[in-house]
Point group: C2
Chain length 166, copies 2
Amino acid sequence: MSDATAGLTPEELGAYFALVEVANLLQYAVDGHLRAEGDLSYLQFQILATLNDAPGGRLRMTDLADGLVHSRSGLTYQAGLLDKRGLITRSPSPDDERSVMVTVTDAGRALVGRVLPGHVADVRRLLLDPLADGDLATLNDVLGRVRRHMRATPPRSARPRARRKS
Amino acid sequence: MSDATAGLTPEELGAYFALVEVANLLQYAVDGHLRAEGDLSYLQFQILATLNDAPGGRLRMTDLADGLVHSRSGLTYQAGLLDKRGLITRSPSPDDERSVMVTVTDAGRALVGRVLPGHVADVRRLLLDPLADGDLATLNDVLGRVRRHMRATPPRSARPRARRKS
DNA sequence: TATTGTTATACTCTATAACTATA
DNA sequence: TATAGTTATAGAGTATAACAATA
């Protein structure tokens, strides 16, 4: 993509670009499917699926935000949309009156179940099929390591707002 | 992220999620830096960098669009912003009067040169540093294969509009 | 005082379709 | 007729800051 070569070897550059492009193409395709099948953005699907896996299908807003969204108002906005469609409900937490518990409804679970087969098929077709034996384990190993590294070195803007002044 | 497990093994799921998350965290961090340093979105940087590498620093709109953008109006919009800032110029192509040639200006090249060191540093710190010996070659091999596969099976919506009726 | 979440507001970006001009 | 690009318009999403309520 440029003299981005400046300071990066062609091999480093290639890995960087390939990673970004593969992830983008994958998300674009999957997002299109989710919208067509369930009128869901990728983010909305992630929210529903995360809740779907959580014990009791419920999570605090703050816990739900982790990793999914960059600003809290963004989550409030998306939750509002899902709430309006009856896919989740929100209620004050019994423990901490400041918190809001988000819960997937039956309709929400049903919708996740409905889009999942196609979603999985997309992922398999685009990402998994071209992998050779052993590639999967390698990707898990390498990307897992990178992910742990990145989580340990979060970009300033992704830090919980609690940390802003501390 | 859910019963997305349905149809995917934990290993497949892990690779999928790790890929998406790593790419997202990387792009988010890099995008933040580009905005802070050069008031550029990642897409704008890609456009400038692509032109910067092209022979003569110039490309047709159509050729520039390839892979960078999903709709043509999107490129027109972004090019308009870059043009307004004096980072590129647009002029009708001599060969084909329908085409528009986009050219990086000196200011555009200077800006790319200015943000590049920090950009490269980000990529190195977040993605490259945690890699072990051989990981780079592996990533290039595997992701390169996936990329070729994806390009050969483009999502319907990313297809050139020329193909819509054919 | 710090934390949780919402709201108001403004802005960026994207997409669709209609349109112009050239091939 | 098909292609290249622009524009109008409208909608989706995001971020910042101000806010209310609870800890």
